[in-house]
Each structure stands twice: as C-alpha cells, then as structure tokens.
C-alpha cells in the first residue's frame, strides 16, 4: 500500500477554537475511531496528527462535493451512535454497520460498501470447524454490538456456541491462536487482516451473513443526508468510490452488484440493512412498539450478568482481604527488606490504572501463561484491591493502642497471640467501614473486566443498549441491579457495627 495518500485532515485538538467557530459553515466535522485502524481510519504512521484510511477518503469525497473542509473528530467506536445523535459531528464514518436500530434512531446514508461475515479458525481445525454448527460448546469471539455479535447470539440459541465479545479487532485473532477461543466471526476485511497478521489461522470460504457500511447522522439531518446520498450515487457511477476501495485493497465483485442495486432504487433504503435484519434481535426489538417488551426479553441476560458481577466481586474481595491482611502484617511486623518489597508493591499497584493491570495480566502475559478471562479478572481485581485493603489494615493495626500490646507482653503472650487475640480483632472493627466502602467500589470497578472479554452487568447493558438503540431503559435496569447488590451490603455492615457497639 505504498500509494496511500495522507489525508489533509488535522485532529480537532490542533485547531484553534476561534478558527473552528469561524469556519462552522465550511467545515464538515466527521467522527471516527482511529483505534479501529487501517483500512478504515488510522493515525498516519509517518505523521500521527493525520488520519488515513478508506473512511477518511470517503469523508474527503463527501466534504469536497459539498464544498466543505473535512475535520476529523476522534470518538470511541462504542459511543459513536450516541455522539451522532448529540450532533458532536456532522457524520460518523468508521466501518459503521447498517442495522434496523440505527435506521430507527439516526439518519443513515446509502450503503457504500458491502461486507461478508466470515468464520476464522486455526488451520489445524479447518476440517473440524466448518460452520458455527460445528462449534457447539466452544467459545467464538467477535466485537460487541455488531452484526457478527447478532449472528453469534442467534447461533448461541440455535447451535449452543458461547459468544465472547472483545472491544477491539486485534485480540480475537491473537487469542484464537493461543486457544482461548476456537473461532472468530467478523467481517471479511477484519478477518483477512487477522489471518495476514497471525500465521496459522484460516478463513472458511462460506459466508455467514452480509452487511453494509453506512454513514450516520443525527435523525433530524435528513436534508444533509440526502445531499450526501447524491454525492455517493455520483461517486458510484463515476468510479471514485471504486478507486478509493482499490487503493485500500478491499475492492471486490460484491461492490458493483451493490452499486447496481443502490443506483436502481431511488429510496433512502435501497437494500436491507443486512441479511440477518429480518430475523435479528435488533429487528424484533424495533418492531416491538414498546421498549419494556425488549426489557423483559433482556432481563434474564442482565440477571445472569449481574450474577457474574456479584460472584466476581465477592471472590475478588475475598482474595483482596486475605492478600491485604498478609501485606499489612508484613509491613507492620516484617523485616526492613520485606517492608520495602511490600511498600513497593502497594505503591506500584495504587499508582497504575486497573485497566492497564488487567490488560497486562490477560494479554501481556499470554505468551507465558494463558489465564482464562474470569481467572485473570479475579486475580487482577483481587490483587489491585489487596493494595488498598492492606493500607486500611495497616492503619487499623497501628491505631490499636500500644499500651494494650505492652500489657499483653507483660502477661506473657507471644506476638502472634497478641495479633490474633487482641490486635487484629480491634483493627478489624476499625477497618469494617472503609472495607464496606471498598467493596461497593469494587462492585462497580468490576465493570472494567469487560475489556478482557468477561461479560458482566455493565457490558451486557451496553450490548442491550446498542441493540435497542437507547440507554434509558437498559441504564435504569442496570443501575437498579447495582443498587440491589450494594445497598444490602451497606446494611449488613451497619448491622455488624451496631452489634459490636451493643456487645
């Protein structure tokens, strides 16, 4: 791809605010996620302040035909719909899939690219796993909130596969190679890139579903959308779109057939959103007149995810309490070198983000030890919170009056007995309130483990929300479930404390 042309687009952060205000009419603000990478949108390797990719060139095409200057706005892929609805940019372009939910909530452009969903497996399994039906009881990876995810959700019900969602399109393939999952379903562009980067993987020839990339605009922007549709039709006719896709090596014979159908139908929706659309969850969700019906359908899945959250939180807290108590004892009673080691551990763990620690545990260590996702999540949360717990316990141990310890020594107790009978019980009372606080915090921090493919309550809610295209009902249900878990906990802690006061 040495013919790649750096787009003349600067990150919005580099523009002077005054200039942005003055150019409001002549600028076309378009949103995309540069983390998604080539060939869609990625930071130019030779100049990271610019972005390159076929979506970048589609944005340039639209802007120049409308007489505007394209201006890139970086957005997270998962929040791109919400930001389009809020008009944070004029149009979103980032390999965004057409779907019934998007059609219902946003104004979407004509489809400008057709893709196929394909199954990727390890070369050794090529004869064993030819289709999703061969993967009963096996873990199959994909990106959350995509057509591929809908496909896997349907296959979960039909074939008994286990869908595993990732936040990015690189780790599904590296984890497939490691054996953490047994197949990946994603669109052919991503699948071809995954196979190119990971020797030992192959794409199965059959097509699991067909979908389309579209641009998304706020629902009231139909006039601008219609002008953009005219631009796209012209670019299909005169070969400018073809040139872009050829430049990025993603042109194939599906595209002229798509263009023929689009050009032969003047309506805004000349083709179905996807081959799944008629039967997909999303389609059913949209056909239902009331969101609460969708909520009732999602309730069991949310409940299951809530169980994952509470089980993970309880086990992690258990680990944190045990390890935290050991660290605290070591820091109070240990030798100077031991204290130094433990203090360093606490400072390093507290001083770096939990998210980074989870990435390192799950992906970073994968070459050495392949922890299952749940185990990595448990260890990551447990060891992180152990650092905080140890500080609470250390403070609590040191708050027990020294005089009581001296009194115990004169009576002949060993230091170990003093800790067990006198110091630790009193320290535990002092530590209970901050521990309760930490447990509630951990319950919520457990949502971070979705980055290493554990589907807990927040992740399930986000899948639910993107499928029905709204956060209101899913958000309320999710909040209700978190409160249902954390409020009783605070109550139990208060009851224990009251019990002590009256003991």
């Amino acid at each position: 791809m040495n013919c790649r042309r750096p787009a003349v687009v600067l990150c919005v952060a580099l523009l002077l605010p005054s200039a942005a205000g003055a150019q409001a009419d002549v600028v076309l603000r378009w949103g995309g996620d540069a983390e998604g990478g080539a060939p869609y949108v990625e930071a130019d390797p030779t100049d990271p302040s610019r972005v390159v990719g076929f979506d970048v060139e589609v944005a340039e095409l639209l802007a120049s035909a409308l007489g505007r200057t394209p201006q890139f706005v970086q957005v997270g892929f998962t929040s791109i719909d919400a930001e389009a609805a809020r008009r944070d940019f004029d149009i979103g372009l980032s390999g965004i899939e057409d779907s019934p939910a998007r059609r219902a909530r946003l104004a979407i452009t004509l489809p400008y690219y057709e893709f196929r969903e394909v199954l990727t497996v390890r070369a050794a399994d090529a004869n064993k796993y030819r289709s999703l039906a061969d993967l009963r009881g096996h873990r199959v990876a994909t990106l959350g909130a995509t057509l591929a995810y809908d496909l896997l959700a349907a296959s979960q019900a039909r074939d008994g596969i286990i869908p595993v969602t990732y936040e990015d399109d690189v780790h599904p393939y590296s984890d497939l190679l490691l054996g953490r999952v047994d197949a990946v379903v994603l669109d052919a562009i991503l699948a071809n890139r995954g196979v190119r980067r990971n020797a030992g993987l192959v794409n199965q020839p059959s097509t699991l579903a067909v979908g389309h990339y579209v641009g998304i605009l706020a629902a009231d922007q139909t006039a601008l959308r219609d002008r953009m549709n005219d631009v796209l039709r012209n670019a299909m006719r005169d070969g400018r779109l073809e040139a872009i896709f050829k430049r990025w090596n993603v042109w194939n014979q599906d595209q002229p057939r798509l263009y023929a159908r689009v050009l032969g139908d003047a309506s805004p929706y000349p083709v179905a959103a996807s081959s799944l659309a008629a039967s997909s969850d999303a389609a059913r969700a949209m056909s239902e007149s009331r969101t609460w019906q969708a909520a009732a359908r999602y309730f069991p899945a949310l409940l299951r995810a809530a169980v994952i959250t509470i089980v993970l939180s309880c086990l992690s807290m258990g680990l944190a309490v045990v390890v935290g108590a050991l660290i605290a004892s070591g820091r109070v009673y240990g030798s100077a070198p031991l204290r130094l080691v433990l203090t360093s551990y606490v400072e390093i763990v507290r001083g770096t983000p939990l998210l980074l620690q989870l990435f390192v545990l799950y992906f970073g260590l994968a070459a050495v030890i392949q922890l299952p996702a749940f185990v990595a999540a448990l260890i990551g949360l447990g060891l992180n919170y152990a650092a905080y717990e140890s500080e609470i316990y250390r403070g609590a141990l040191e708050a027990v009056p020294v005089g009581q310890l001296d009194a115990a020594r004169t009576l002949g107790f060993s230091e170990r007995q003093i800790l067990r009978l006198i110091r630790a019980p009193q320290a535990f009372r002092l530590a209970l309130a901050p521990m309760t606080n930490d447990f509630v915090a951990l319950l919520k921090d457990s949502s971070l483990v979705s980055v290493i493919t554990v589907v807990e309550l927040t992740k399930q809610t986000s899948i639910f929300a993107s499928n029905i295209g709204s956060w209101v009902v899913p958000g309320l249900m999710c909040a209700g479930m978190y409160l249902a878990m954390s409020l009783p906990l605070a109550r139990v802690a208060r009851r224990i404390e009251r019990g002590w006061r009256h003991a």
Binding site: P401, D406, A407, T410, L411, G412, F413, Q426, R429
Partner: protein, 204 residues
C-alpha cells in the same frame, strides 16, 4: 529474704539516657514505693523490670512472671472484664477453660468488681478498670507486682482502699513495687520509699 535485685540499671533511648545507676533490692512481702515527679524515670524503671524496655547496662534479677498494672490500665478493649482476666491463663499458661474462668471470677469478686464481669472496658469507671487490671495481673500468680501511678484515676477514699488492698496482697507474700508521685499514698502503703529524680535514686 531478698527476691528482687536491681543493680546499676541504665536505660537509654537513642542518645538520651533516661535512667542510670539505679540499684535497689526488695524482700518477699515488701512494698517499695518509687517516689518522684513525672519524668523522673520511675515508669522507665518499671518497664525495664517488666521486660518492655531493653537495658543499656546493669542487671535485674527477679522471679518470673512479673505482672504490671499500668497507669491507664490498658485493658483489652475488645473483651469483657472477665475475659481480660482469664485470657492469659488459657492462652499463655494453658490452664483449662472452666478453671480459668472460675479463678478470674474469684479475683474480680475479691477486688469488689465481680458484678462488672460482663462489662466492656469502656463501660467501667476509672476505679473499676484499675481493679480489673489488678485482677488481670494477679491471675498469672506473679511473685512480683509492678504498679505505675495507681492513684492517678482514684478519688481520695479509693486511694485508702487501694493502699489496704496492696497491704493485703503483700501480706500474702507478694513483692510490690509502686511508682507514684503521691507522697501520702506512698506513706500509707509502702514499707520503704525510694526517691527518684533525674533518672536515678537519690538518698532520701
């Protein structure tokens, strides 16, 4: 009969000498008062005898176990008065539970706080807490009892009671060393008074 012998005791904390050249002895059944202003070094002498502070020089010979009653009692805050007394019997001296609890109750009764057995330390008055602390110290049957400022939390009437109690305990054969700044109390209970100033015993 001398049971307790302190010779040329010196205690330093860092570069500071807290106590030096302290020598004295005590006989079985004797009450010795260490009299002096606060900061004179009385408590440090007691702590060294109890094994809580290391000696920089000198020797201390006395029969073990040594029990100590602290100025602020230092009862175990997470336990009842009764538990405070029997805990060491069970866990240090490995006596049977039932026997230890019975002995603890006898001691509390003898000191007039038997009715407070189930109270937690923070529910006790200063005088009650002190008597529980004495019971806790006596439970391990120490030949030597050390007391640090025992009158600090007592009203004058209670001071008289305490003096009588110490006399009774000494009559049973215990040697008692009392650190106090209260001359009346020292006069009322001690067989012998030693004056402490600037970290040493001065001829009185």
């Amino acid at each position: 009969m001398t049971v307790l012998d302190v010779r040329s005791l010196e205690v330093r904390r860092g570069a500071r000498t807290i106590v030096s050249a302290v020598s004295f002895a005590a006989a079985r059944g004797e009450i010795v008062a260490l009299m002096g202003a606060s900061g004179a070094g009385k408590s440090t002498i007691l702590r060294a005898m109890a094994g809580l502070d290391p000696l920089s020089a000198g020797t201390i010979s006395l029969p073990r176990p040594v029990a100590m009653v602290f100025q602020f009692h230092h009862l175990f805050a997470n336990m009842t008065a009764h538990q405070n007394v029997w805990l060491a019997l069970v866990h240090v001296f490995k006596r049977p539970h039932a026997e230890s609890e019975r002995r603890a109750q006898e001691l509390l009764d003898a000191l007039g706080v038997g009715h407070r057995a189930t109270a937690l330390p923070h529910e006790l008055s200063g005088g009650e807490a002190q008597r529980v602390a004495i019971a806790r110290a006596l439970a391990i049957e120490p030949p030597v009892l050390l007391m640090d400022e025992p009158t600090a939390s007592l009203d004058p009437a209670r001071r008289g009671d305490l003096a009588a109690t110490l006399r009774r305990l000494a009559a049973e054969g215990r040697t008692i060393i009392v650190a106090t700044h209260d001359a009346d109390f020292a006069g009322a209970c001690a067989h012998r008074v030693l004056h402490v100033a600037d970290g040493t015993i001065i001829p009185g």
